[in-house]
Subunit: 229 residues, 2 copies
Amino acid sequence: MEVSQVTHLAVRGILEGMTAQPSEYHRRVAAQKRTSIVEAATRLFLDSGYDGTSLARIAEAAGVSRATLFKQFTTKAALFEAIVTEYWKVDDEEAPLPEPGNLRAGLETIGRRYVALLAQPGMAALFRIVIAEVPRFPEIGETQFRLGKMPYFESVRRYLAAENAAGTARLDDAETAATQFLGMISNFVFWPRMLLARWEPDDSAVTNAVDQAVLTMLARYGTPGTHGA
Amino acid sequence: MEVSQVTHLAVRGILEGMTAQPSEYHRRVAAQKRTSIVEAATRLFLDSGYDGTSLARIAEAAGVSRATLFKQFTTKAALFEAIVTEYWKVDDEEAPLPEPGNLRAGLETIGRRYVALLAQPGMAALFRIVIAEVPRFPEIGETQFRLGKMPYFESVRRYLAAENAAGTARLDDAETAATQFLGMISNFVFWPRMLLARWEPDDSAVTNAVDQAVLTMLARYGTPGTHGA
DNA sequence: GAGGAGGTGAGCCACTCGGCTCACCACTAA
DNA sequence: TTAGTGGTGAGCCGAGTGGCTCACCTCCTC
């Protein structure tokens, strides 16, 4: 073996160890296959549940061989975890908190955002499957809680705290207040859907539910000036 | 064949057609086996989910042969349905509504009853499996909703309507008010448990959640006299 | 044009599943 | 004593499961 060959091999080894670049093309193809797998798997999992979805069907729906599927996701559980995690990836940009000063308007804004989130297609199905599989995959439930529920809970909490500081609201416990607000809404627009497949309140009913929740919050936490408007 | 025999057979035939009496003994044995099956199946279903529980394991846990299981429940789905339906059978006697006149005390009573129900062992697991299987067995979800949620919702609604009629509360829409009250409570004490396996607020936190929900209801729907006490 | 990546198709493995059947047993009631 | 019930154990069936492997192909990149 000549010196130049040795050098060549050493350089390649270093490069591989550092970046493991399998060339632009191969990475692109792999990424395409991967997204196609994730998309198909998401659809099937939400449709048929975890046990009800076989890897064979996922591979078929994704237009991919079973061997490829196993190269990308070593196990069914890993695929499931990737699905749930990536579902929440979309929501990168966080909407800004409403300005303090108008408690009614601020709560209405947040409330409408919340119902819009809950009304997203697939949201109910996602909750359904995650709830079902929490005993087997506890981290999945924590992920869903952290990415799906906490952001809204936190935005309400921080907003209420800001209103409290501004004197536009009067409350000791912003956490409890936030829980109450979101609970009043979701107990009407979302949770019944977990048991009743056909629970689909029309827009006016949903709007009313948010408005009524806001009114109740105003009655409890509003300062005199904010009660009326 | 003598006349008496003919008569005898005819009478037996009529009796069988009317009541299908397989003798006291056999009925008792069958009932025992049945309850033992239902108990074992309930435990296993709540533990491992619908797909995760095999009929073989149920039969084994019940101390019953597979053949017997099939004689009592023609199909796995039928067994599952029986489980869920019988889970709610216990709650025969309905607790009486609080007397109108003290909105705070009445809501507190109902709120504490509600958290006691939600804290029952197996309640979370039951909701979990029912929610998971609603797409496959919609009637199960409706049963759960009708037997598990409606009674409390109705009791709050009727109680609030009574308070309204008595002048101790002021509200147009008792349904919305009831949804709000129960939503404020369950959004803290129950629904997080669907995603977080270890969500188990201590008694003081639960009590506080109910109290705070009552205070919010009083602020919104109480009449001046009831605000303070 | 050679190297090497990722994808492919087929197939193996050991298992489990729900559903169903049947000959036989234990036991009570008449 | 006998008829008839419900329970029993064993076993068969076809289908499907997740996991895994391997030789082979395709196609870009250097």
